[in-house]
């Protein structure tokens, strides 16, 4: 399984993601500069977290014009996997590869802490190692993670089982108190209609080693690795 991690000016989880894939999970992993257009022959492209272009104007608004985005679009059209984590998710939304948009957190503050996620759909390339309903402990760290979408499109997401993670409590109950940012329908992660592009606000790369309080992020990476082998 070969992974590519895209570096935009202002990415700051690029090395963390690379570290988990390569050093912890032993997968072949390369970096791409945002101006690259050749995705070599990677199976999965990851857009990591950070503040691409400082998140100036809007999160992801400038990064979506990077040359690599055209190649990523092509990669997705071929049915290959694309993952956006946090800022990467926002960039994929701006680029139209994933639905919805992120508003400022309802609490108007940056929030960094562990949250609980309920796995809503384990029939995707990103969640096949999880049990249906499995609760994962993974941290968030964002200022704009308040998922917003029109009512009609939300109904479509629900109907197509595109919502793969919702914020929940430790028992897996999706309750308003467990929603850290005001996201509509407690959405923490979604896939596109075809199911090969995934975005999530929580950071699985920060929860993939015993030393870092949780290893639940590995379920997501392992799902991707499983899928190909």
């Amino acid at each position: 399984m070969k992974f590519g991690v895209v570096i935009f000016p202002g990415s700051n989880c690029d090395h963390d993601t690379h570290h988990v894939l390569k050093s912890v999970l032993g997968q072949e992993t390369v970096f791409f500069w945002h101006q690259d257009t050749d995705l070599q022959d990677v199976d999965t492209v990851i857009l990591p977290g950070g503040f691409a272009y400082g998140d100036y104007l809007r999160c992801g608004a400038i990064a979506k014009f990077s040359p690599i985005l055209e190649s990523v679009r092509q990669h997705a059209q071929e049915g290959k996997l694309v993952v956006g984590i946090c800022n990467g998710f926002q960039i994929l939304q701006e680029a139209g590869l994933l639905p919805g948009v992120m508003l400022r957190n309802a609490g108007l503050k940056f929030v960094c802490r562990h949250v609980w996620l309920r796995t809503e759909n384990n029939q995707t390339p990103f969640t096949n190692a999880c049990q249906e309903g499995q609760v994962l402990k993974i941290p968030i760290a964002h200022n704009e993670g308040n998922f917003f979408i029109s009512k009609q499109e939300l109904a479509e997401l629900q109907a197509n089982q595109q919502i793969i993670f919702r914020y929940s409590d430790a028992q897996g109950d999706v309750i308003p108190e467990a929603n850290p940012n005001g996201s509509m329908d407690s959405i923490a992660g979604v896939v596109n209609r075809q199911g090969n592009v995934m975005g999530m606000m929580p950071h699985p790369e920060r929860a993939s080693e015993a030393l870092l309080s949780s290893e639940d992020g590995r379920f997501i990476f392992n799902s991707i690795i499983n899928r190909v082998h």
């Binding site: 000016p9 202002g10 990415s11 700051n12 989880c13 090395h15 963390d16 570290h19 988990v20 050093s23 977290g49 950070g50 503040f51 272009y53 400082g54 998140d55 100036y56 609490g107 503050k109 940056f110 929030v111 960094c112 802490r113 941290p139 760290a141 200022n143 950071h203 790369e205 920060r206 080693e209 030393l211 870092l212 309080s213």
Partner: protein, 733 residues
């Protein structure tokens, strides 16, 4: 323009200093030169009141790779790696504009670290505000926290710890001390030195605007009521630009073509050019017309004194400058050759080819004036009330006392603050904020680094020397409690006006106290920062030296957290509890006047305790360790219980009044929980210490009896709730 007395005074120079300038130049300076001298000779840049005394600090040790005098200190941490760290204040800018002041403070300290060739891996901060009952203080705190978060989060360096205190003295003079730690290859440290005549001076980063002109001089002036009108002087930070600078500079350094590098912080282009020339014993020539400018019609005076942020000055090998420029272009950064290293020892400034200033580098930097200012023991020290004379009755209900203590601003949880900081990015944060020290793992090794910042201005006010020693001791103790051995120190010394002999006395005593303690703990000072003139309308702040200690954790398996781990583990207190309530959080909580004496510290006893704890941890007897400080034993025990919602059954006996016993702040004490099956061996090992069994960890109820009288019995979750949510209650109403 004629140099008048008014002009000299408005530049913050004395007439004597002006005479010295004339003597060094052998002529009258012009306006640009006067401006350049005034910033370089300001307290902020020249340390003119403190230099003499800072020399007393221990700075040597086999582990020290770079001591004071560079952008940051460097210590050897084995595995071919070096820890690069420093602390700096940004007090005055943060009062004028809390968000940008704090943000640019963070930006500045980060530049100091990557300038040395290190990748920054952690930020910490030490903050002081006025009481939260006042909305103005709330707004300052909210802005400062948001500013630190805004900068650190964006650039992707985790803010992993720190400390906060509240005191009336800081109402109009908050303190924002920021610390940054970086990692470099031990043999690839870069210095801020120019060398090689003909080598290129490369300006990189943000364009120069009229930002903070005379900001440095402002930071060395007392605040007056018209501080509001100084607003336009405040710089605005751009963390995205700095992220690009960080990556590009580290990449450029890898080429081997970079000879020296310094950031343009306070006093911008002036400071970076003359200091690099001075350290490298060479001359420096620059052409201002080549400096990238953001505003039109800037004068040479303005360009030289601008404090625009996110700018760096590099010296690159002449033949390889293109290689370096190419890297900056890749990162979309403005990079321009603005001058060169020259023969001689002068800083020479040209504008459109004509020479407009020429001054000896050394006269501006190393040979700037310094003073042995008069010092006098403050009169207040003889008039301090003694806490023993205060009349405060024993509380009738200790359950209520506990609730009140944990929900006081001094002792409540800092979660509201650190949740706004990205404290996990870079995935090295082995202990999340809230424990005694922050611990960062070093990827690719089995080791880690621990960092703690500490200082207690109530103690330093009561006894500047003892207070400073207590700060060093506590910082080391915090590092040791995590399982790490202290290796090096940095400090940030926040005081009033050095022209006031009583403040000067406080300063000298504190510096000497830090020196004494750092000798004993074998933690040389590798750098730091002095912030004078922290006064409002003539009143100085309480003297506030802040210590930062960096320690090495040889084996990450030996990390210890402050929280109890397992039900049934026996709990011990190492160290003696005396009736020491002077300067305590307890008296502060009761609203009593600040009273002495401050707790007494025996440095050798403290060192022995710390060494012993490290032994016990290495032997794997210890499950958790938490130092006893503000809030005494009572708060310490509650904090041990909170993270895992565990309880405690404690039975202690003491000749002291129970509240004195529970809230005394005697130093050199550590609460440990011991592996049950190792208890006997543990006791054999600690037979030479003052050891008291307190009780054992339980699963739910926090129970305290003293002298066979049950004082507290309450579910830990209820106390946790109060402690955890206090700051939300203040800010999220």
């Amino acid at each position: 323009m004629e140099i008048t007395l008014d002009l000299i005074e408005s530049h913050g120079l004395t007439t004597e200093e002006y005479e010295q300038i004339r003597k060094r130049l052998g002529r009258e300076p012009n306006l640009t030169e006067l401006g350049i001298f005034s910033v370089m000779w300001s307290e902020h840049c020249s340390y003119k009141s403190s230099r003499l005394h800072l020399k007393k600090l221990p700075t040597q040790g086999p582990q020290v790779l770079q001591g004071p005098g560079e952008n940051a200190g460097v210590i050897d941490i084995g595995d071919g790696l070096a820890a690069v760290f420093k602390m700096e204040s940004h007090n005055h800018p943060s009062f004028i504009e809390p968000f940008e002041g704090a943000a640019t403070g963070v930006g500045g300290i980060i530049r100091d670290i990557f300038t040395m060739g290190a990748r920054p891996i952690a930020l910490l901060n030490s903050l002081r505000f006025g009481p939260l009952e006042d909305t103005a203080n709330q707004l300052i705190m909210e802005g400062v926290v948001a500013g630190i978060a805004g900068y650190g989060n964006c650039i992707g360096i985790p803010t992993v710890g720190g400390e906060i205190q509240f005191q009336e003295t800081y109402s109009h003079n908050p303190l924002v001390n920021v610390f940054c730690l970086g990692i470099a290859a031990a043999d690839e440290i870069f210095l801020a030195q120019a060398s090689g005549v003909g080598n290129a001076l490369i300006y990189v980063g943000a364009k120069t605007g009229r930002d903070g002109i005379h900001g440095v001089t402002m930071a060395s002036e007392e605040f007056s009521e018209d501080a509001e009108s100084k607003r336009p002087n405040v710089q605005v930070g751009d963390p995205f630009m700095e992220k690009l600078l960080l990556e590009a500079c580290l990449e450029a350094m890898k080429t081997g073509a970079v000879v020296g590098i310094q950031d343009m912080g306070g006093a911008g282009l002036t400071c970076s050019t003359c200091e690099m020339g001075s350290r490298g014993e060479v001359g420096v020539k620059i052409e201002l017309a080549r400096v990238p400018q953001r505003e039109e019609k800037m004068t040479p005076y303005e360009i030289m004194l601008s404090e625009s942020q996110e700018r760096m000055l590099l010296v690159a090998e002449k033949e390889r400058q293109e290689e370096v420029l190419e890297i900056f272009r890749k990162w979309d950064l403005d990079a321009v050759v603005i001058g060169e290293v020259s023969e001689g020892h002068d800083l020479t400034v040209y504008d459109q080819g004509s020479k407009i200033a020429q001054m000896p580098n050394k006269a501006l930097s190393e040979e700037a004036p310094f003073y042995d200012r008069p010092a006098q023991r403050p009169a207040y020290l003889d008039e301090l009330p003694r806490w023993q004379d205060l009349d405060f009755p024993e509380p009738s209900d200790y359950n209520t006392l506990l609730q009140e203590i944990v929900s006081s601003p001094h002792l409540c949880s800092r979660r509201w603050v650190f949740q706004q900081y990205d404290h996990m990015v870079q995935t090295n944060t082995a202990i999340l904020p809230g424990s005694d020290a922050a611990v960062l793992r070093l990827k690719g090794t089995s080791s880690g680094l621990a960092v703690s910042l500490d200082g207690n201005s109530r103690y330093t006010y009561l006894d500047p020397r003892m207070g400073a020693m207590l700060a060093v001791a506590e910082s080391c103790r915090n590092v040791v409690c995590c399982g790490a051995r202290p290796l090096g120190a940095t400090n940030c010394l926040n005081f009033g006006s050095p022209e006031n002999p009583e403040v000067m006395w406080q300063f000298i005593e504190s510096v000497e106290g830090i020196g004494q303690a750092c000798e004993v703990f074998a933690t040389p000072i590798t750098g730091g920062n002095v912030s004078f003139y922290n006064e409002t309308n003539g009143a100085a702040i309480l003297p506030t030296p802040i210590l930062g200690i960096v320690g090495k954790l040889e084996d990450l398996k030996q990390i210890r957290e402050s929280s109890f781990q397992n039900v049934g583990d026996p709990v011990y207190l190492l160290g003696e509890t005396r009736a020491e309530l002077g300067g305590s959080a307890y008296l502060e909580h009761l609203g009593l006047p600040l009273s002495g004496p401050c707790p007494a510290l025996d440095l050798n006893q403290e060192k022995a305790l710390q060494d012993k704890l490290l032994d016990l941890i290495a032997l794997e007897y210890i499950e958790s360790a938490h130092d006893v400080s503000e809030g005494g034993l009572l708060l310490t025990l509650a904090e041990c219980c909170f993270p895992r919602s565990l309880g405690l059954t404690m039975e202690a006996s003491t000749p002291l009044r129970p509240d004195h016993y529970l809230l005394s702040e005697s130093p050199s004490r550590i609460v440990v929980s011991v592996k049950k099956e190792k208890e006997e061996e543990f006791l054999k090992r600690v037979s030479d210490l003052d050891v008291h069994k307190l009780g054992e960890v339980t699963d739910e109820i926090f129970q305290v009896s003293v002298n066979e009288q049950s004082l507290i019995s309450v579910p830990i979750t209820r106390i946790f709730q109060v402690w955890n949510s206090f700051l939300d209650g203040v800010f999220e109403h």
